[in-house]
Amino acid sequence: MKRKLPSTISKFLPPVIAIVIFLAVWQGVCMAGWVPSFMLPSPVQVVQALINDFPLLASHAGVTLLETFIGMTIGIIVGFVLALVMDRYELLRKALYPLVVISQTIPTIAIAPLLVLWFGYEMLPKIILIVLVVFFPVAVSLLDGYQSVDKDTVNLLRSMGADDRQIFRYVKFPAALGQFFAGLKIAVSYAVVSAVIAEWLGGFNGLGVYMTRVKKAYSFDKMFAVIFLISALSLILMWIVKILQKKFMPWENLKNK
């Protein structure tokens, strides 16, 4: 315990100090009146807006999180299947990989209005957008993991008489888990942002819808409050992924000891 404390402090202290300094400068700029408060609310005003509007924000956040969860689940499944197929069949990998990469060069903001036009103002276009954003890092990270597996280990299992399914189960998939979780961390942060972007363009509920409403009312403090909340939700989801990684990859913790 005595040893752990200094390492914990050294890990968390620098970012905490940086954040505190940033907020203090921001507060100072606002208090000095260098920027009008209706354009840049102070951190204290943002926190007040967050507290005052919390019940409303929570209900909108619930919708955004539901879209994120459904989109993430489908996106992970699509990414998993795609990586599996591309790893198994070389011809399909050659055919599909460029398409997968091209799909990511289309900006989210450009495709979101189309999805809204095609699929309406309900949840479906938001979920589709999240799936499009999530499947890519999952598929690419898993495929990289499958492809970079140690050939000697595969040969060892073959010498034991293992078939392709067993090699996937005992070698390829566990070996790709590290890359999968790295991809998943990127995917969750993209997922929340994508849900919000899709909500901007049309819908009845969600943090993006709330954002457009407060923007029209020039309530900058509330806009910052929702930005804070989106950021916090992304961080929480990334933290959950980290916890899941620790749970599903206990051997990785040994390397760090």
């Binding site: 140690d150 000697d152 280990t153 040969n155 060892l156 299992l157 073959r158 010498s159 034991m160 008489g161 293992a162 067993q166 005992y170 070698v171 566990p174 070996a175 888990l177 990859m249 206990p250 051997w251 040994l254 390397k255």
Partner: protein, 246 residues
Amino acid sequence: MDKLNVNNVTFSYDGKVNVIENINIRLGEGELVCLLGVSGGGKTTLFNVISGLNRPQTGEVLLDGKDITGVPGKISYMLQKDLLLPYRTIEENAALPLIIRGMKKKEAVAKVQPHFAAFGLQGTEKKYPAELSGGMRQRAALLRTYMTEAPVALLDEPFSALDTLTKSEIHRWFLGVMEKIKLSTVFITHDIDEAILLSDRIYLLGGKPGAITDEITIDEPKPRSADFNLTDRFLAYKRLIISKLK
């Protein structure tokens, strides 16, 4: 009858340039035979052929008289690195060959338990490979090889990655454990001392393409003492091998 016969095996990766040519090897019951030769001489290729990972262009591999040419899973194979799966505990790693053959994980793990003591691995059952030293990991890899329950084992430079002190210790342990389990084994090394200390017979592999150039019988009682490598007889074997390798 011999446990293993490799008859007139020739192998080439591209179908043009032979890596090994006309190889003949036999292995008796409980025998420990060594393939000794320089790196890049085709020793590992030969093991890949014997284990069934690669099919030779000509020749055959017989196990207990049955043709197993190009059929993996009949002979256990331990590669140069320990190749323990980092995400599985030692007992799960050791049980892997049984699980691959279709045994339930619980049963397989229970089946490996009695062997931990014989292999000097008590207390490591629930540990992950990253928690073990190099020597202990090699022991675990050998236990996994043994759990394949194949009548013949191939060990490809099993101790080459170990430091000198650990290697000396594991040599003594290896001789002891092989006395107990009586596993018919072919192992590869490029360490002459190791070959003399551990083997009943030594095949010298040399040339391009790789071919068996000589066969030397180490006619010494087993288990050999720790200071066997300090005796005149050991040195005589060493001189003989060096002269034949030149």
